[in-house]
Amino acid sequence: MLSVDIVKHLPDFQLKIQFSMESDVLVLFGPSGCGKTTTLRCIAGLLEPDAGRIVYGDQVFHDSTQKVFIPPRDRHIGYMFQDYALFPHMNVQKNIWYGVRRQTSDTMLMYEKLLSLLKIEHLTQRYTDRLSGGEKQRIALARALMAKPRLLLLDEPLSSLDLDTRLELQQELKEMQQLWNIPFILVTHDPEEAKAMGTQVFFIEKGRQVERPDFL
């Protein structure tokens, strides 16, 4: 599975984190600015750690002593950004297809399946400025899954949504995880969400992993 052991110097503190993922859903939980997002970006290859190793299965993504760095495009790791990062100059359909290299009957089927599972069939021709937060979230999820990732990283996926949508989407995320059967790493600062989503929870504070806090 995934094992991470990295050091990254941040302006205010040093991020030093070490874990290996054993379950299907791992939650990185901590206050904002504690280094959660930096950890995700290092795993995705969007940031290079200053030292350490990131290994997924038998593939080394990053190893500072051996000078290995696999660029994000070759890692096949899905990433859902906090504000979803949907391309504003493309409609929903083009957004979802962006990560597919060749259109085949299989990808066509997967596309149809994602649209119906996420209930977004009616949105395909829309541009992103005509979508609600929940719709954006579903489309970002569909886009990430269309690229056939081996692992999906979710950065505060539900934080900007209202309570009802949040609960609904929490359920949906769990179902998608089981259906797709790939590990999810989810970042949140919301204790309820951490509890609801995670089978394995890491508490991070100022760049360090700390003991389980009381509420979990």
Binding site: F81, A85, F87, H89, G99, R101, Q125, R143
Partner: protein, 228 residues
């Protein structure tokens, strides 16, 4: 022929535009992407043709590409090429004076892009080239086009640097601004007035067109199909 300077000006400005586009976009991209010592000095150097009197820019170019100049010597020795007092020198002058406009406009547009969008494309398997052409450029398109229009207008109107390096050879290097100056000097006010009218109309319609285009672009385009 009376249209000669007009045609030459347009040709020179279009040729300058190609270089301005290539250099402006690549430098703007590079300066956004990389940090290195001395970056601020390079930024200042890039802005220099905008604030220096064009005649000073022209003088510096003359030193560089003149017969004794380092670039002039190199070109004549290796390629047997002389560009001083040719239309190529006018293209060079147009490129140098218009470059800062393209650079600034493109850089501002690049900086305004949310870098998460480019990162999203990377995690979806796109290489840098694909990210650039499918995300960065389309999102910066407005700034790129504004830069091109302003640069074209600037290159079209270039006088000081052009006269220093290309001279005023009627039919060969005489562009509209030079034609205006020399017509006015020899008291041919109707000819000067004609060129003034032509260049004013040309530049006015370009800027006007740009404004119209950006207004259309800003409003309904992204909502196509959304308002059913």
């Amino acid at each position: 022929m009376i249209w000669q300077p007009v045609l030459l000006s347009i040709k020179v400005a279009l040729a300058s535009l190609i270089f301005v586009f290539l250099f402006g976009v690549s430098f703007a991209y590079a300066m956004r992407k990389w940090d290195f010592p001395g970056k601020a000095a390079i930024e200042a150097l890039f802005a220099l043709p905008l604030v220096l009197p064009p005649v000073v820019t022209g003088f510096l170019l003359l030193i560089l590409i003149g017969k004794q100049g380092p670039i002039g010597c190199f070109l004549s020795e290796t390629f047997d090429l002389r560009i001083i007092f040719t239309p190529y020198a006018a293209v060079l002058a147009g490129t140098v004076v218009a470059f800062p406009l393209m650079y600034q406009s493109t850089k501002a547009a690049f900086l305004a892009i949310d870098s998460d969008l480019e990162d999203a494309a990377r995690t979806l398997g796109a290489g840098e080239w694909r990210v650039f052409w499918t995300v960065t450029v389309p999102l910066a398109w407005h700034g790129v086009v504004s830069g091109l229009v302003l640069s074209f207008a600037r290159a079209l109107g270039e006088f000081g640097a052009t006269i220093m390096v290309a001279g005023n050879i009627p039919g060969k290097t005489q562009t509209i601004p030079l034609a205006i100056y020399f017509a006015a000097e020899s008291n041919d006010l109707s000819q000067a007035g004609f060129y003034v009218l032509v260049i004013s109309l040309l530049t006015f319609s370009m800027i006007w067109g740009l404004n119209l285009w950006s207004r259309i672009k800003k409003e309904p385009n992204y909502q196509k199909g959304a308002l059913r």
